[in-house]
């Protein structure tokens, strides 16, 4: 999983939706743990939006855009959700 554009906000552990609403950040962390997903957040997009290492929820890590392109090169399919 690679998080780009505003998608990097998914990694922000400070996000606090109302308790009766879904918590997407928490769900990502849980999904990542359950399926051993590599949850990669683009460093340039993250820094532009104030998402830093210390803000990352469990299971997320920051890396470069090269990770996204490399996955496109190596995977049989690349699927984009959202923008």
């Amino acid at each position: 999983m690679f998080f780009y554009y505003d998608g990097v906000n998914n990694a922000n552990k400070l996000s606090e939706p109302p308790s009766d609403d879904r918590n997407i950040t928490k769900r990502w962390s849980e999904l990542g743990k359950e399926h051993k997903l590599d949850l990669v957040v683009c460093i340039a997009a993250a820094l532009r939006r104030g998402i830093k290492d210390e803000l990352l929820a469990e299971g997320f890590r920051i890396s470069g855009l090269g990770q996204l392109i490399e996955s496109g090169v190596q995977c049989d399919r690349q699927i984009v959700f959202g923008d």
């Binding site: 554009y5 470069g64 090269g66 392109i69 690349q78 984009v80």
Partner: protein, 131 residues
Amino acid sequence: MPGIDEPDSESGVIKKFMFVNRKAPYGTIYALEVLEMVLISAAFEQDVHLAFVDDGVYQIKKGQDTKSIEMKSFLPTYRALEGYDVEKLYVEKESLDERGLTADDLVVPVEVIDRSAMAELINSMDVVLSG
């Protein structure tokens, strides 16, 4: 963080990447962040294609002046793409027509193709990323 953005020269796999630009250059960050993906994929020596559709055609329109919005213009970056061997630029004819533009209004040489040809082109790609 080791190995960031270092091209994987070992694999030698070259795929057809297409970056579809749909948004005006300023007001949202999409155009700039797509451009960042384009530059990285060029560094990975991939077969890079760019498409400009809808308001995305404004990204490469001549005569932009960003001074009054206090943003750095990234128009020169499109001109520099040639130096990264990124030369496959396609613009959708209908998008130009709808905005009263022609290829002469653009800062870089492009191939103007119609909507159905654009759809076919996108369909022929290995990886399509848009913004």
